[in-house]
């Protein structure tokens, strides 16, 4: 594959994009997991699908060049803001916001797809991910988003961490909890929109949660967990992309299965350590 990467532009873009989302997806995933918001990622990925279907429809109906990634990102960000609004409407049942937004995303996708006269291969690529989906344009958009996400998380790391650990305390101590939270949700929407071409709508949330679930088992402290999550995320993306390419399998499937193998290994390591400790005692 390495030789092919050097030879073919599209592979190179896919590969570098993969490395980028291997950083930003687990990075935000760490906060998402500890705040128990994993399902929000799923809801947003389905809204992104609606946006992508919208873009494909526009492309087909008006026969113009329109990047569906762009409409996907816009839908994702709007969806994230709507989720926050709904969470404040249903204060006692905040999780209701997730199925509402998720079904709206799927409903819109179906309508847009049928207006555009049905499925095509493009859409399948968005569902399961693809090694050839990333264009030069997409690549630059995702590069910009990655830099933005890294910058914001670095600048607001202590606020994000404080908020994740204890929301009430964060508010009392004078942190603008609501605004920081909104910023965080919008970042999440951007990362989900960016990851979809490679891992696919159905599996994008797994790239945000599985590496974190594995890192959580063996890390000491939050920062260490964050770095381990990124390491596991990168391993999954790189091995998943290469094996997907050679086996002609959409990379969404291979990336997720590698993440699951890493997860099982960390669970195993912890078990062995416990066993050793018991024997020593």
């Amino acid at each position: 594959m390495l030789a092919d990467i050097l030879q073919y532009d599209f592979l190179r873009y896919t590969f570098i994009t993969g490395i980028l989302i291997g950083i930003i997806a687990p990075l935000l995933g760490t906060f998402i997991v500890v705040r128990r918001l994993s399902l929000i990622a799923d809801a947003l990925s389905h809204v992104t699908l609606g946006g992508i279907a919208f873009g494909l429809m526009i492309e087909k109906l008006f026969a113009i060049a329109f990047n569906p990634l762009f409409s996907g990102l816009v839908f994702s960000v709007l969806g994230s803001i709507l989720i926050e609004k709904l969470r404040s409407v249903y204060k006692a049942y905040q999780e209701l916001a997730i199925p509402i937004i998720m079904s709206a995303g799927v409903g819109l996708s179906i309508i847009f797809i049928s207006i555009a006269n049905g499925f095509n291969t493009d859409l399948l690529n968005y569902l399961f991910g693809s090694v050839s989906a990333v264009s030069q344009n997409d690549f630059f958009m995702i590069l910009g988003i990655s830099i933005f996400v890294l910058l914001v998380v670095t600048l607001f790391y202590k606020e994000l961490f404080t908020l994740s650990f204890d929301e009430e305390y964060a508010s009392i101590s004078g942190i603008h909890a609501k605004q920081i939270h909104l910023l965080f949700i919008v970042l999440t929407a951007l990362v989900i929109g960016s990851s979809i071409q490679i891992v696919g709508v159905l599996l994008v949330s797994s790239l945000m949660t599985l590496p974190v679930a594995a890192a959580m088992r063996i890390s000491k402290g939050f920062k260490q967990m964050m770095f381990l999550s990124i390491l596991f995320g990168e391993l999954s993306v790189i091995i998943g992309l290469i094996s997907g390419y050679y086996l002609s399998i959409p990379p969404g499937g291979t990336i997720v299965m590698i993440s699951i193998i890493i997860l099982l290994l960390t669970i195993g390591i912890k078990k062995i350590n416990l066993f050793k400790k018991v024997r020593e005692a």
């Binding site: 500890v34 600048l155 607001f156 202590k158 606020e159 961490f161 404080t162 650990f165 204890d166 009430e168 305390y169 964060a170 508010s171 009392i172 101590s173 004078g174 942190i175 959580m216 890390s219 000491k220 402290g221 939050f222 920062k223 967990m225």
Partner: protein, 251 residues
Amino acid sequence: MKEPIISMENISYGYDRKTVLDHISFEIPRGSFMGLIGPNGGGKTTLIKLILGLLKPDKGSIKLFGEPIDKFKDRNKIGFVSQKANAFNRGFPATVFEVVSTGLTAKVGYFKFFNHKDKAKILQAIEQVDMLDYAYRNIGDLSGGQQQRIFIARSLVNDPELLILDEPTVGIDAENVKRFYDLLHQLHDKRNITLLLVTHDTGTMTEHATDIVCLNKTLHFHGKSEEFNSLSEHDLSNIYGHALNIVTHNH
């Protein structure tokens, strides 16, 4: 009389149509160790939320450090250890150091990183609660009593002048409760921190606090601990109902 750190005048507050606090007025003098007692549902936690600015009173005014509460900006002067500190997500993957650092987040401010001085302060706060050996352990690996001390350290990191603790000893075993009060006395005597401790455990409270406020919708008692102890059992049951009777019989 020393300058009051908190003064409340004619505070009333209700949820929907149910009055929880009815015309409460009292002051917390600087340097006191105030025990806020009263039955469950008597409005203790609501009163704390008013002081912390989480709720706004329907009537009356609150002054913090001599300033009206809506103009008071120096939030770091008030440390708070919540009841939830006992019920927080025990699996949260953070070290003691990281947890205590959250106390400094707001003070350090946006777009700034913790520097060496901040880090030294964090370690110093952990040392004050005698937990330095645990600084880089995960908070989830600690016992309830140890976690409680870490939450106090998180407040101490700001050098507060007033420390508010809401039911801090719930779910902590007797030996750690004793250590906990030793720590409070140390903070009160050596560092001159004014303490406001909320509890329904009246018996232990009168042993430790210098002043007692007893709250059950209205203010039932406000004075020195000794005066409170000299109240007859009849007076107490008028204030408090059965809960207190059980406690006083034990003593």
